[in-house]
Each structure stands twice: as C-alpha cells, then as structure tokens.
Amino acid sequence: MKRCTILALLMGLAIGGCSDAQNRTKGVYMLIDASATCGLELNNAQTVVSYLLGAAQPEDSLAVARVDTGSFTGKDIIATMTFDRRPSVANNQKRAFQKRVNDFAADVKNGSAIDISGGILQAIEYLNEARVGRKYILIFADFRGESTRDRARNISFQLSDVSVIALKVTRLAPDSRGPANDLERLELWRAKVEDGRGKWQVIDDLERIDTIFNH
C-alpha cells in the first residue's frame, strides 16, 4: 500500500512536472481606421494583416474590425477566426481570412468619425471569450477624431494581460498644432491603457512589426 502511494505520488509529480498549464495561444484584435484621415493607408493595414496571418499558429485567434463608423457595432467587424489545430486546415482558414480583408479593402467607404474606445471594448470581450494565453490589440489609426476627454467616451478599460499596440500611420493633413498634438493624444491613450492595467506600445515603423510578439 505504501509503495503504491509512493508510486502514485511520483507519477503525479512526473505528470505535473511535464504538463504545461500555461496557455501559449495568442489572440490579436486589429482595429483599422479607414476614415478619410488614413484611408489610403489601407495597403499598409493589409500588409500588417498578412504578417499577422503568417505569424499565426494553429489555435490562435485573429480578428479585424474597422473603427471609423462613428459608433462601433457588430457590423464593423470585418473578419474573426480561431484557427484549427491542424496546420493544413488553418492554412485554408488564413486564405479565407485574407480574402475577406481584401474584399473589405476593395469596397471600403470612408467613415465619418472614429470610435476606438468602442473597438477596444469589443476587442477585450472577444479576446476574453477566445481564452487565449496572450492578448494583443493593434490599433491602426492616427487617434484623431476621438477625444479621450469626451465624457461619453471616457470609459475605463479592464486591460489586464492585454498589450495595446498603436501602429502609427502617416498623417495626410498635418494637425494644426503640429506633432505636439499627436504626442499629446498618444500620451492620453497611454495613460488610459495603463490605468486599465494594460501594456502600451507604439510602433512608428511598420518594418519593426515583427517585434510585437516578442514582448
């Protein structure tokens, strides 16, 4: 009896030591501002989506949504996908995903105002439901048109374990206050994300996009 107990204990230890409870899947929710400000940057957004599809592993989750319709709704979600555990099926899913994004880019109409906060709320909900190990929200926008000082939009986020990455886009019409205004907006968003216990990161150069999953 004693021997059996010791054996069971050892086996339990071995199994416990070998198995990894850590969830290694990652979920990425990309918010695209297709409004007049940066609509011509959609090609870059497509490149980012292609990179994300290439980097996605089986069982990862990926979603793309637009945030330039004034108020974020379910119709603004362009594509969502949790990839299959089998690589061959996942590859076909990636092809379908890319086709949907390309179709969107081909028929996109410029929106009026952006609703990044609504997009982030939706992204948080999606990533939590997807039960992924690492959560990323990519914002492909210049953050104009939505003020964090707006009371209606001044919502606090629950961003624990979520990395929010702002992909800086080229400004077509310079802000009247110049770069200082951009920096101020980014700083306000950083504070907002960090208040929600999220991680904030800004990527200026899309060539460095491959570094986003290193953190």
Binding site: S50, G54, Q57, P87
Partner: protein, 494 residues
C-alpha cells in the same frame, strides 16, 4: 589623554628587533613543535585519505576484473553455445537424411553385389565327352567309307559344338560387360554420397576446432589469468569505441527521422499544444522514434541476437516466434506511418510555401513536377525505422563494454587522486620542516651564541637534522610501544 606615548622614551628599532629575536628564541621550541605538529596532522590526514582512496581503487579494480571476467565468460559461453547450435543443426540435417542414405547405400550395395555375382558366372564349357570323342575323330581311317562318314559326322558335330560353345561364351561375356557397365553409375552414386558425407564430417571437424579454441579461452577466463584479463580489457575498449561510433551514426539517423516526421505530426496531434516547453507534435515524433527503438530492441531480443532482457530470451520457442512476428508487423506498420508522414511533410511544405506567396501578394510560381524528392523522403521514412531497430546490437555492446571502460577510467582517476593526496601530504610535511628551519634562520644569531656557549656552532643543516631526529625519535618510540621485546633487546645491547 591617550595621545601620550606609552613608553617614556622613543622606541629604538634595534632594541625592538633584539626584543623580538629574544622572544622568538624563547618561543622557538613551542613554535616549532606547533608547526611540525600541524604539518604532521595535515600530512597524516592526507596520507590516510590516500590510503582510503587506494583501498577504494583496489576494490574497484577487483570489481572491474570480476565484471570483465563474468562478461568474458558469458561471451565465451554464448559463442560456444552458438557453435554447438551450428553443430547440432549440421548433425540434425545429416542425421535426418541418414536413414534414407543408409537405405540407398544398402540398395546400391545389394544391387552391386547381385550384379557382381551375376558378372562372375562361368561361361558354358564344351560337353565332357568331347575330350573322349576328339581322339576318335582324329583316328586315321584306311579309306572305309562307313568309317569316313562316321568320322566326318563326328567332326561336324564337334565343330558345331565348338561354335555353339564360342557363341555361348561370347554371349555370357557380353552379359557380364552389360552388368559391369550398369555398376558404374552405382559406384559413382556411392562415391558422391560418401564425398558429401566426408564434407559434412570435415565441416564438423572445423567446428570442433573452433569449439576447442573457445574452450581454451573459456578455461583461461575461468582461471582468471592476467593474459585473459588483458585480452578482455582490450576487446571491451575496442567494442566501446566501435559501438559508440555506431550509436552516434544511429543518433544522426534518429535526428533526421525526427525532422522528417515532427512537422507533419502536428496534423495528428495539433499544432498549438505544448508539453512543457516543447510542442506536442515534436514530443509525439520523439515518442514514435523511441517506440521504434523499443520494438527493435524486442525484435533483436526475440531473435536472440541481443540479451538485454533475459525474460524474453527465456521464453519458449513458440512464444518467441510469435513475438518476432508481432514486433516485425508493428515495425512495418510504424515504417508505413513514417512513410506517410514523410509524404505529408512534403505536401505541407508546398502548402506553406503557397500560403506565404498568397500572403505576400506575389503570383504563385509553379514548381517543376518532380516527385523524386517526395519518393526519396518516403523511402527514407520507411527505411529509417528498420535501421533504428538494429541499434539494439551496438547498444548492448556499448552498455556491456561501458561498465568495463567506465570502471577502468574511474580506477585511473582514483589512482591520480591517490598520487595527488600523497604529494600534498609530503608537501605539507616538508613545508612544516621548512618553516621550522626558516624560523631558526631568522634567530640564527642567538642560536649561534648558544652554540658558542655550549660549544656546538649552529648551522641550517643542524636545524633540519634536529627536526628529522625529532621525527625519528618519535617513530622509534612508536615502534617500541608496539614491540616491547625489541626495546628489551636494544636496552640489553644484544
């Protein structure tokens, strides 16, 4: 208040030096005793350690010898057993045919005997009365027609008889020749059978010579001679190196095999799950390779090529044969699975490349439709499991020879430790003496004065002798303590 000097006058360096020397002179004996005691303590501790390690080394060497001899005995027994098996097979093969052979030989011998007997038949002779009639036929007749006719008739009869006798003789001779001709193939058959038998016997003789040689080796090993130990040691080192080399080659094969099946395994077990820090697909591929190795091990055990698991070797032949077939079938199935995975690996690589091109937005480039690489991968996937199955043979050699080689290396290391301990012990001992001598060197003026006073001038050599004498005295005291009879003899001056 503490700034005032303790001494009323400024300290004179010469005076201080003189005081120091005086103090050292008076402390000479206790200091030297302390230093020598300490060095002796360290030296003795190191020597004791060396003795202990030497004992361990001796035990290890004895154990190595035992292991070597038992391995050699087992090997010699196995070889002799195999030779006996071969002899048994030869004898069984020949004895199985022996009744047939005996029957054939008996039949041939009977036929030969019969033919021989028939060939020995005497040819028919002329009737006996011919000898009597012949002089009558040769009688000179005077011209009587009756007599002449009678004699002519006799002569004709005689000639007729003679011709018949000659014909009969010729017929009998021809029959004998036919019989003798018929004997030729029989003789050849007998000769061939005897040659085959002789070959089998000579094969057996060769095998008995091998067995004699093996038995000589066996006797030498049993007698535990140095020659046998040396031979076995050299043999096991060679085996260790060769088996290690083959295992390295097998490891390279296993790595190639792993890379061939790790990626496509994700189609079976999923590409996103992990076991520890490793992907489940990689672990599954590794497990498949290890299972192949295990099955190969069981197969070799069942075939009695290796003897790592005595339980398998001790199974009855029927069960063992079943196990051979089961392991062979399992191995073939796994080889088929690997071949399919290798095919899938190629397909997945193509698919992945196509996806990359799609994502990059470039036009798909059509690859030439060569199937050689795919076929090559599939063949490799099928062959590698069988190659890995044979790893059991070098593995057994490696394990058995590693015991000896590791023992030899460990014994060598222990010998080195013994040497270093003894060296350290000696260094510690002589360092103590050196410190004592240097101490005397520092206070040599006072020792010189002491020598002048006592009429024994001091030298460095004297210091060393002093130390050595102390030691010799102590040794002698120890010996005397152990052997009081010697003390008595020395005291009595006999």
């Amino acid at each position: 208040m503490f700034t005032e000097p303790l001494l009323p006058v400024a300290p004179n360096p010469i005076l201080l030096l003189a005081l120091l020397l005086a103090a050292m002179y008076f402390a000479r004996k206790p200091f030297q005793q302390a230093v020598l005691a300490f060095s002796r303590m360290v030296s003795n501790a190191l020597r004791l350690s060396a003795a202990s390690v030497r004992q361990a080394e001796k035990k290890l060497v004895d154990r190595n010898r035992e292991v070597l001899m038992s391995a050699g005995l087992e090997n010699a027994e196995r070889q002799a057993e195999r030779e006996f098996d071969r002899i048994n097979a030869t004898v069984v093969r020949n004895l199985n045919g022996y009744p047939t052979l005996q029957r054939q030989m008996a039949e041939v011998a009977a036929k030969l005997e019969e033919d021989h007997a028939r060939s020995m038949e005497i040819p028919p002779h002329l009737p006996n009365w011919i000898d009597i009639i012949e002089p009558i036929a040769n009688i000179k007749h005077p011209g009587d027609a009756m007599v002449s006719k009678m004699l002519a008739e006799i002569d004709r009869n005689l000639r007729k008889q003679n011709r018949q006798a000659i014909e009969g003789f010729r017929g009998a001779s021809a029959k004998r020749h036919v019989l003798l001709n018929r004997m030729m193939p029989l003789w050849r058959r007998v000769q061939k059978t005897l040659t085959d038998l002789g070959r089998s016997i000579s094969d057996l003789t060769e095998r008995t010579k091998t067995i004699d040689r093996l038995m000589d080796d066996y006797r030498e090993i049993r007698a535990r001679t140095d020659k046998a130990a040396c031979k076995l040691s050299s043999s096991s080192t060679t085996q260790f190196l060769v088996a290690g080399l083959v295992l390295l080659i097998a490891a390279a094969g296993a790595v190639i095999n792993f890379n061939l099946i790790a990626q496509p395994m994700s189609e079976m077990v999923g590409g996103g799950s992990f076991i520890g820090p490793h992907r489940t697909s990689a672990v599954a591929a590794l497990v498949i390779i290890l299972v192949e190795l295990s099955i190969g091990l069981y197969l070799m055990e069942s075939l009695r090529i290796t003897r790592l698991f005595p339980v398998i070797g001790a199974m009855d032949d029927r069960m063992r044969t079943r196990m051979i077939w089961i392991t062979l079938v399992l191995l073939t199935i796994l080889a088929g699975v690997e071949s399919a995975l290798a095919f899938m690996c190629d397909r997945m690589a193509s698919d992945m490349e196509a996806l990359r091109q799609t994502l990059a937005g470039v036009e798909k480039t059509i690859r030439p439709g060569s199937q050689i690489a795919t076929i090559g991968q599939m063949i490799m996937g099928f062959v590698l499991p069988f190659f890995l199955a044979f790893v059991a043979i070098p593995l057994e050699s490696f394990i058995s020879s590693a015991r000896t080689v590791v023992g030899i290396v460990t014994a060598g290391l222990l010998r080195l430790v013994v040497f270093l301990l003894r060296l350290s012990g000696n260094i510690a001992c002589y360092t103590g003496k050196l410190i004592a001598a240097l101490y005397d060197l520092v206070i040599f003026p006072l020792l010189w004065i002491e020598g002048v006073i006592t009429e024994k001038p001091f030298t460095i050599r004297q210091a060393f002798e002093h130390v050595s004498n102390n030691r010799q005295h102590r040794k002698a005291a120890k010996v005397n303590e152990k052997n009081p009879a010697r003390t008595h003899i020395l005291e009595s001056g006999e």
